[in-house]
Assembly symmetry: C2
Homo-oligomer: 315 residues x 2
């Protein structure tokens, strides 16, 4: 089939990435990272998570981050109105308490996070899949009432660290529930990176019987180096939104030293190579990957960033 | 289209990989590496290069490596005859002098190395494409007379470090000449890793008008993280032979610090995930990647090796 002509990237580095880094990054650094990502052309940047700092100390400054990011955005108001390109800063809100805090900080988009694996749901958020979905319902209802849009995540869409292979039908079921609850988009997460173009295709085939392609996003981890191929296979099935993390921030929480979220620059390189527009300036993105990686005391994890930086050094 | 059910991997780490490492690796280490790769199930292992040690000191022990590898193979003769699986140890022979030295050391398969880019040919082997092809002709004739099979390489099949984009028709032309000269297989090399699933597809479409798919191999570099996706796209076009380098040995000679040859373990992971047989034992391959990387004083470059080793440490 024809590939999509434009793709929307949802940058998840500041939340999904930094949440999984051992170091707690300074608020100023987070705000600057988000500003750099915006300047690089990203128009959807997951900013933080409204969870308890007891569980996720990395996101303890959630209200301050979101408030500052939205204030900076408001200052750009005129220019934004001129070019007509809204920028979205979704934040993770696992429950009504988190949603209310996010709303108080000015959130205009939130995200809820379900799982397609029963064991992962119990270990990760301490309740069954069904219970988690019921917990999201008041969030989606309150969000609709407040004019806040909601994105749904499904994790473990191919494999689970506790159960192994996950049935495509289980993914379709959870994705459909989130979609019917009012999520404008459902992001399908290969949380442990065990997917390949074949298992991703089978999973998408099942989900596409319930949700149209233009309401789906691929969220792939590069643990085994398959993420770029999985993005390509998803494009072939009509998916045109992908989550990615600048510099591959975050690593893999299930295997220390392994890769986690696919790097945004690797996805953008693929898409631009395929002639697909993203609105992202790759050079500025690589600069940002180098800058945040240096702040964390390491090299960028992505091949594109390393190659582009190596070529610049050689030039 | 249906993907191939089995794929042949041509392991190029001991030659293409080690040739591009700064360190000169000890002969014993090379011979042990090849033995480990064989034990991991690889049945085509490029062993060395018969070039002048003035130009490529890393391959200065070519005759000793090949002689020892073939002697070890002969010792296994009975077992090999029993399971019927011949193992091939191609060696690079850029000219008749190299071929004669390879033949004297017992070679049963050699390889010649042409380019689809005029500038690359001049800078890399100091002659035009046409001159290089004429230089290969006596090699292929002598090989046929000696019952030695010849593999052809075409480099820069998508991009050239000096010229930029390379026309698919230029690749098809060189590939066809090598094929008609008697090469049983032509390996298409994305030498600078600039290919993506679209440019690889266009290149293959051009080559497939001249050479059947079962006589082609994909030789992709992972400089920008696209190699696994490029293998997938090639499988979709019927290509069923891929070159790869254990542990991603070799790096990129055109951008220090960047990735080079795609890692064998990443390709094998993809293929096994797609249900395609390779005959390779992934765990033994990862062990080998860890072992040779340690010998070079570093971590394996491949995501699969890093993830598998991280999971083993955690277990």
């Amino acid at each position: 089939m024809e590939l999509p002509r434009t793709v929307r990237i949802v940058e998840v580095g500041p939340r999904d990435g930094l949440q999984n880094e051992k170091q707690v990054v300074a608020t100023d650094t987070k705000v600057a990272l988000i500003a750099r990502l915006r300047a690089a052309g990203l128009r959807a940047i997951e900013a933080t998570s409204f969870v308890s700092p007891k569980w996720v100390p990395q996101m303890g400054d959630n209200a301050e981050v979101l408030t500052r990011v939205l204030a900076a955005e408001a200052e750009r108001g005129e220019a934004v109105a001129r070019d007509g390109a809204a920028v979205w800063y979704p934040v993770l809100t696992p429950n009504l308490k988190g949603f209310e805090a996010a709303l108080a900080a000015g959130a205009t988009e939130v995200a809820v996070f379900g799982a397609a694996s029963e064991s992962f749901s119990r270990k990760n958020i301490n309740c069954s899949i069904a219970e988690s979905l019921e917990r999201f319902r008041p969030v989606t209802e309150a969000a609709q009432a407040a004019g806040v849009r909601v994105r749904g995540y499904v994790s473990c869409v191919v494999g689970c660290p506790y159960e192994g292979a996950v049935a495509p039908a289980a993914v379709a079921e959870v994705a459909q529930t989130l979609f019917e609850m009012g999520c404008y988009e459902v992001s399908l997460g290969d949380t442990i990176g065990s997917g390949n173009p074949d298992s991703i295709r089978r999973m998408l085939e099942a989900v596409l019987t319930r949700i149209p392609a233009d309401r789906l996003a691929g969220h792939y981890h590069d643990t085994y180096g398959m993420a770029v191929a999985n993005v390509f296979a998803s494009l072939q099935m009509g998916v045109a939104v992908f989550d990615a993390s600048v510099g591959g921030l975050g690593g893999c929480p299930y295997a220390a030293g392994a890769s986690g979220n696919v790097a945004t620059e690797d996805v953008v390189w693929l898409l631009h190579g395929l002639g697909i527009e993203t609105g992202v300036d790759l050079d500025a993105l690589v600069d940002t990957a180098a800058w945040i990686s240096a702040a964390l005391g390491r090299e960028p994890a992505s091949r594109v960033a390393r190659a582009v930086l190596a070529k610049r050094r050689a030039a």
